[in-house]
């Protein structure tokens, strides 16, 4: 199997990672598509130096997050049509149940975080240990723990605020 085929197979298997990063960092469909393409290309470029020291999924997370954080948009898009706060399957307000509303509020609050905090939350949701998150982000595990506490408090407050306005 040549390198490109091997890479494509691995990427297809782990494509959820790329989709997650795109969904988290981009509000609009077109931007998500552009970012998806960019992550795929950057991952392919970096794949030549992938030695298998870490798991492919961990390596792909690092590439995807680096690309998303430094992504340079081609042009300004028209105003947001569909934001991360809007769950595609969201139902009308009168039928929404409290759990769904809370989930939507949490999703909106995560969407409002800084690029770095979003990356940390994403890795936390993936159940990576603080030590591993620190290695991927280039900071200490202690720093990750402090940041994670602050992020959780912030998300709790923001979610509550959002729920109060609904």
């Amino acid at each position: 199997m040549n390198a490109q085929k091997e890479f494509v197979t691995l990427l297809r298997t782990h494509q959820n990672i790329v989709h997650k990063v795109c969904n988290l960092y981009m509000d609009q469909y077109k931007d998500r598509e552009d970012l998806f393409q960019e992550i795929t290309l950057q991952a392919w470029k970096a794949y030549q130096s992938f030695r298998g020291d870490s798991k492919f999924s961990t390596w792909l997370y690092r590439v995807a997050l680096n690309t998303a954080i430094t992504f340079f948009r081609k042009e300004k898009r028209s105003p947001t049509i569909y934001t991360t706060g809007e769950l595609p399957e969201a139902v009308a307000d009168e039928t929404i149940n409290p759990i769904e509303a809370q989930l939507k509020a949490m999703y909106t609050a995560i969407g409002d975080l800084s690029k770095i905090d979003k990356a940390i939350v994403m890795l936390y949701l993936e159940d990576y240990a603080y030590q591993e998150i620190g290695e991927m982000m280039g900071i200490t595990a202690n720093n990750v723990a402090v940041k994670m506490n602050r992020i959780k408090t912030k998300l709790k407050e923001q979610t509550q605020k959002y729920m109060d306005t609904v």
């Binding site: 969904n23 949490m106 800084s114 402090v146």
Partner: protein, 214 residues
């Protein structure tokens, strides 16, 4: 309501809200062009290097073929300066080509991008600003020299004769215009570079600040 409470739901939501892609889709994507800022800088550098070499052929031609001695010296010196500038652009291009950081830790990746962009903006501004006074002062000096060596120019300049006061006023006015032009050029170049990369650089620096120890 806590993040941990929704951990599974959020993770599932983020992972499932998309269209599944096949091998053929990925193979198609691998044939597309990248749009990272590194590639934007590379394209910009390539354009400037090619354009610079073409323009410099004109300068070299003028240095050998211009009628006036001052023109030959001016274009000769300017083409040497342009070659230095082009070598600097090539150095930046090689440096940019070496950056393959996508799999580094986020902080190291951001820091190397910031270093590259900072250097690009700083050196670009320095070189552009250095060329302007060199051009103006050098052309003025050579023009003055030619005025004394070229009979036709000297005659045109001598008649009608201006009073000393008018000559001083004209010289001061010229100096003010040159100074204002340079001042304007400095701010224009700074504005242009900020428009191109400044906001992006600020964004990257904010990310690094966000990663500092708390």
């Amino acid at each position: 309501m806590d993040l941990d409470q929704f951990k599974n739901e959020l993770n599932t939501k983020l992972a499932t809200d998309h269209t599944h892609r096949s091998d053929a889709d990925f193979e198609y994507l691998l044939k597309q062009k990248t749009n990272s800022f590194i590639d934007k800088i590379k394209r910009s550098l390539w354009f400037e290097i090619i354009f610079g070499f073409i323009i410099n052929f004109g300068f070299v031609y003028a240095a050998f073929c211009a009628g006036l001695h001052s023109f030959r010296i001016y274009f000769g010196v300017f083409s040497i300066l342009m070659y230095l500038f082009l070598f600097f652009l090539i150095y930046l291009l090689l440096k940019t080509n070496k950056i393959r950081n996508a799999d580094l830790p986020v902080k190291s990746n951001l820091e190397s991008y910031i270093r590259l962009l900072d250097e690009f903006i700083k050196r670009y501004l320095q070189l552009t600003m250095a060329l302007i006074p060199i051009c103006i002062i050098f052309s003025g000096t050579l023009g003055y020299m030619d005025n004394h060596t070229n009979q036709a120019l000297a005659a045109a300049h001598a008649s009608p004769k201006m009073s000393e006061t008018v000559q001083i006023i004209l010289a001061v006015a010229l100096l003010i215009i040159v100074a204002l032009g340079m001042y304007g050029m400095y701010y224009f170049t700074k504005w242009y570079l900020k428009k191109l990369y400044g906001n992006f650089l600020t964004d990257l620096k904010a990310c690094v600040a966000d990663l500092q120890d708390t």
